[in-house]
């Protein structure tokens, strides 16, 4: 009985050691600058009153060995692209990137780090202090467009309506915003340090 217990304890310890390693994501090559570019069909935030695209997400992979240990890492505030008429999006605060397996997430932190405003509803803003923009990642093999690594936006972050210098009847109400790529094709991820190298996310260390 004691021996059985000892075997189970050792087995449990081994699993405990193995599980975090296999679920921890890492990103390569260390120290390289990368860019996720949204084109006409790029990822966009769609709300009840309009939508805005994110045209660029840029960051630098932490240097080794932190690229295998350090998630999240800080990235540049994503660039806002075009919005539907009457809508605007302002991003601020600190933005970071993290990953669990092949589902990287880009997220902001800080008061109102993502704010949507609409000319059809003055006095209100739709904001989030921790917008989480989740997606799926596909590793590329080389540089031609079709074989580049890709990011496909796909999540529904929750934003909150708030007063914006006026009376907002919806203040405090939540709205689920759609974060999705315009087509089934993912957005290409480019290595800006070495354009011929694909940016790779690894599930195992």
């Amino acid at each position: 009985m004691k021996r059985k217990f000892a075997v189970l304890t050792v087995l449990g310890a081994l699993i405990a050691l193995a599980v975090p390693a296999s679920s921890m994501a890492s990103i390569y090559p260390a120290g390289h600058k990368f860019e996720i570019t949204g084109d006409a069909n790029g990822p966009k935030l769609t709300t009840s009153l309009g939508n805005c695209k994110i045209s660029k997400i840029t960051g630098t992979i932490p240097s080794a060995p932190k690229n295998e240990e350090l998630f999240p890492f800080t990235i540049t505030t994503p660039t806002v692209g075009t919005c539907s008429a009457g809508a605007s999006l302002t991003l601020s605060g600190t933005w970071s990137m993290s990953a669990h397996g092949y589902t990287p997430l880009v997220y902001g932190s800080g008061a109102d780090s993502a704010v949507l405003r609409f000319t059809s509803l003055p006095g209100c803003k739709l904001a989030s202090s921790s917008p989480t923009l989740l997606g799926t990642w596909s590793n590329g093999t080389t540089t031609p467009t079709l074989l580049k690594s890709g990011f496909y936006a796909h999540s529904e972050p929750t934003f909150t309506w708030a007063t914006d210098g006026g009376s907002c009847a919806l203040a405090g109400s939540k709205e689920t915003v759609k974060w999705e790529s315009g087509t089934t094709q993912s957005q290409a991820v480019t290595d800006l340090t070495s354009p011929t190298t694909p940016i790779i996310i690894g599930n195992d260390k």
């Binding site: 769609t46 709300t47 009840s48 009153l49 309009g50 539907s84 008429a85 009457g86 809508a87 609409f118 000319t119 059809s120 509803l121 003055p122 006095g123 209100c124 006026g166 009376s167 907002c168 009847a169 919806l170 203040a171 109400s173 709205e175 689920t176 915003v177 759609k178």
Partner: protein, 116 residues
């Protein structure tokens, strides 16, 4: 076969795509029922409820419409409610026209409220 394809193309050209049935069609029917969908002489809630069909659609607009059409007492009593109804009304129009239409509708709703 060619005649059948031609007929289909002609039908599409005249009547539009069947899959396009949505808010435009709904709003058109509301417009014809009311002559013109206006915000004049009605309470914000009356106008909101005439836009109820929007809440039958899918996506973020549906949830927004539900909050406007079936408002909580706090939302309905808020001074910002007419603007909210006006914003919902504006979603039935093309984006470039929305800001102006929403402002006009909010003004009409305010004027109607004062007139009561």
């Amino acid at each position: 076969m060619a005649r059948w394809v031609s007929l289909c193309l002609l039908a599409l050209a005249l009547g539009g795509c069947g899959g396009g049935k949505g808010s435009t069609v709904t709003v058109t029917s509301e417009q014809s029922a009311a002559g013109r969908l206006t915000c004049e002489d009605k309470t914000p809630l009356e106008v909101a409820q005439r836009l109820r069909s929007i809440a039958e659609h899918r996506g973020p607009r549906k949830r927004f419409a539900e909050m406007v059409v079936d408002p909580t007492p706090a939302i309905e009593e808020s001074p910002g409610y007419p603007r909210l109804v006006a914003a919902l009304y504006a979603t039935t129009l093309p984006p470039p026209k929305r800001a102006q239409a929403a402002a006009a509708c909010a003004e009409e709703l305010a004027a109607a409220s004062h007139g009561r």
